[in-house]
Assembly symmetry: C3
Homo-oligomer: 139 residues x 3
């Protein structure tokens, strides 16, 4: 049994952009010595989140549209009144979705469904370089 | 320390049906050689999710009612306009709730609260056979 | 590799109070023999949840305001009609946010962002003493 810490760098444009990181995670796992276990993907920041989705053009519009409707950008946020960075909604969305996703893998392959991809969602309001953490625990 | 991959088969009728899987997970853990650790329950699909809830008849109505209100079935989803399977809302709900739940256990018993059960929620629009993955990591 | 089960006691006043538990978790990790791994923080109850957030006064108002708007206290919940404890909304909010958060750590320090804190959110309607579980798995 061992623990390995991997990092995944990506750039994202914000405003609910959904970045499919499945192949990146699979590729990092295949270079890692651990065969079976769990990989915890973690966003070390407060305006990004993680989930899985069928990565197809329709849902890339529907999922952000849900956030636009439920946690609108154009509302008054106490965060913005203090910090004036216009991303109060980004923080609230990210905290609701959550920064952490744990996925099981066997023989270095994640046990995802056929139509299921892992996505990083950048809720911030400007393009940023992001670095995600992958903590691999297993055998 | 070891990793064990278990599978849990169930059938679910969709439309936000909430299936209490607590006893199934406990039973799989009690047959497993690992005493203490974490079990990551994972939905390998994009129209189901996991959480915990007090599994009583009132909340079995209240929790789905929340999804019906916030992410209605009767809305236009870009997913449905392409695929015509009428489950755009199912995907959006599943991605918001999340496909993964990690629960600690000691002496083969999960450390749940007295009034806390683990539920699989089937957001799809038709009955399906489902298979969940349980990745057990521990000692 | 080892598993350690730690417990964190706290008191919370309910009604969406957000308790910053980052320093408590860090302190428990620094007293633990495991250097690198994951810590799964778990709420053994059905009216509390966990996430991360930038812990500043604005967001301490914005995040609860989102729940007040989307899952209002003043609605009819089937749970309350049976149990008359007035916390149907607390259960629904807790199940949506989720009871579990897994965070990677290295050299006993969690790999959080600079402006990212771990919060326990007490959705119940009265002050309570809470006990969270920290399952540490690693090397």
């Amino acid at each position: 049994m061992a623990v390995k810490t991997l990092r995944l760098a990506l750039s994202a444009s914000g405003n609910c952009e959904m970045v499919d990181i499945t192949d990146h995670v699979d590729s990092l796992l295949s270079d890692c010595s651990i065969q079976d276990g769990t990989v915890t993907i973690f966003v070390p920041g407060s305006t990004g989140g993680l989930t899985t989705i069928e990565y197809e053009p329709g849902l890339l519009r529907d999922f952000p549209a849900m956030f636009d409707r439920l946690i609108p950008k154009k509302m008054t946020y106490a965060h913005d009144q203090t910090w004036h960075d216009g991303n109060g909604h980004s923080h609230v969305r990210a905290s609701l979705l959550g920064p952490s996703l744990t996925v099981p893998f066997l023989e270095k392959r994640m046990l995802l469904g056929t139509w299921q991809q892992i996505v990083f969602i950048d809720f911030d309001v400007r393009p940023r370089n992001r670095r995600l953490i992958l903590q691999v625990v297993g055998d």
